[in-house]
């Protein structure tokens, strides 16, 4: 780290000014007190474009301290542009330690995956959220969706899921699958694959959601009931995969498809790179492990 970078962290810790942090902290506390309710907050311009995680970055900046260890994942991977950039950002503006190991992290900022390793009580998961309002594509008016949340009027969401069944024979929503939090608010879990929805239920970790462009913060406290919406005759199901991970042979994990050539060759590998690398280090080998590595 250069001398200038060190100065930035000591001149103004964690990028945001103190009044902004207080405002975000107050919104976080309200969000935790009302699980699943979207708290409006005065989202700031961040040194990155909307859609790159400005909401998550503001939440992380408001909670992070010098003793925290930060992990950032983008679709489960620690080594993609968005994850690397945000890790570097916090190394620079807060001088915090960063890691790729899920178990070591105290704060995990994520866009659209929950790590495979079950999270523990000391950890906070911060989601980057593009569209926080689960009803937005059904009802574009904020005044109306706010009223629907106020009156707990969620029939429209069930109609949407029913139309899926009528058209496709099953609920075809595979990501951003709506959940009901503690029997009250319907919430968008951010565009995580629905595979991860069960991990939100009764998680030991605190889950915070930040939407920068839409200016909303919401939260799920630990040990909170999070139920994916479904019907009695069409119960909620997660994706299943035919084959285990091609690199580490893990089963019951979320897999990414990787195209290998222009003749239809493909492989399915763990989306959670830390989980995959750990398993390979432990000696687990998938069918393509030798050829790729």
């Amino acid at each position: 780290m250069s001398a200038l970078d060190k100065d930035i962290a000591t001149y103004n810790f964690a990028y945001l000014d103190e009044q902004t942090k207080r405002m975000i902290r107050r919104a976080i506390l309200k969000g935790i007190a009302i699980p699943g309710y979207q708290v409006p907050f005065a989202s700031r311009e961040m040194p990155m474009p909307y859609g790159w995680g400005t909401g998550g970055v503001q939440v992380t900046a408001a909670i992070i301290g010098p003793d925290d260890v930060l992990k950032v994942i983008d679709q489960g991977a620690d080594d993609t542009t968005n994850a690397v950039s945000i890790r570097n950002f916090f190394r620079k503006v807060a001088s915090v330690e960063t890691t790729t190991e899920t178990a070591r992290a105290t704060i995990i900022q994520t866009r659209h995956r929950i790590p495979e390793l079950p999270l523990t009580a000391g950890q906070t998961l911060v989601y980057q959220v593009p569209i926080p309002e689960p009803l937005r594509f059904l009802e574009p008016r904020e005044t109306e969706t706010r009223k629907m949340h106020a009156l707990e009027e969620y029939g429209l969401m069930h109609v949407k899921l029913y139309e899926d069944i009528a058209r496709h024979g099953r609920i075809a929503t595979t990501y951003a699958y709506p959940v009901k939090v503690e029997g009250r608010y319907v919430m968008d879990p951010s565009p995580t694959p629905k595979f991860d929805n069960p991990k939100m239920h009764m998680s030991a970790a605190l889950q915070l959601f930040g939407a920068g462009r839409e200016k909303r913060i919401y939260a799920i406290p630990p040990f909170t009931e999070v139920v994916s919406l479904d019907f009695e005759d069409h119960p909620f199901e997660v994706q299943t995969f035919d084959k285990p991970c091609a690199l580490c042979a893990a089963e019951n994990v979320y897999l990414d498809e990787v195209i290998l050539d222009d003749r239809g060759g493909r492989m399915f590998v763990c989306s959670d790179t830390d989980h995959c690398e750990k398993r390979q280090a432990e000696g687990h080998r998938g069918e393509l492990a030798g050829e790729i590595a």
Partner: protein, 202 residues
Amino acid sequence: MVLAEHITGGFGDPVFNAQSVFRSVMGAIARPGTVSPVASLAGPPAPLSPTAAAIALTLCDQDTPVWLDASLRGSEAVASWIGFHTGAPLAHTPADAHFALVADPASLMALENFAQGTQEYPDRSTTLVFQVASLTAGETLFFEGPGIERVATLAPTPLPRHFIEQWKQNRARFPRGVDLILAAGDGIACLPRSTRIRASEA
């Protein structure tokens, strides 16, 4: 008249002190019933307690009207100290308050007098900070709800009159309602509005 005690006793290291107190509060509100430790970081004029003062320094500013209970309002030094260190205006009525600092919870008015938020914006409610003598020496209360794996216990004292009944009513107003921060000398516990009180362990 401005005296030294109106001015001294703020955070020694505002950025990091505020961050550590906030994390204590966040941990406590995310896990109701658990006690988050808090170091003695602020030196406010009596009867404002150092823990309640640290919470005010962490969360209050010019955007958050603060309501003081009768015993705090009685001290000119407390109002000056909060004004000087946080910039927060004093709320004239409890219904205007974003935060309420309560040095004497036993003689507090009913919780329903504070801002409850609206059904559309339940976040527009008062967060009350109770200065309590102890979190373990009072009558044991049992809690359940979000943030609690099975059952949580706290025994704070003193509390407002008919607290159990008042808290049941507060829970019944969900998602409207007030949130409580219980500030003892050595720790913070929280009761967010989502927490349900139970008569006994069973």
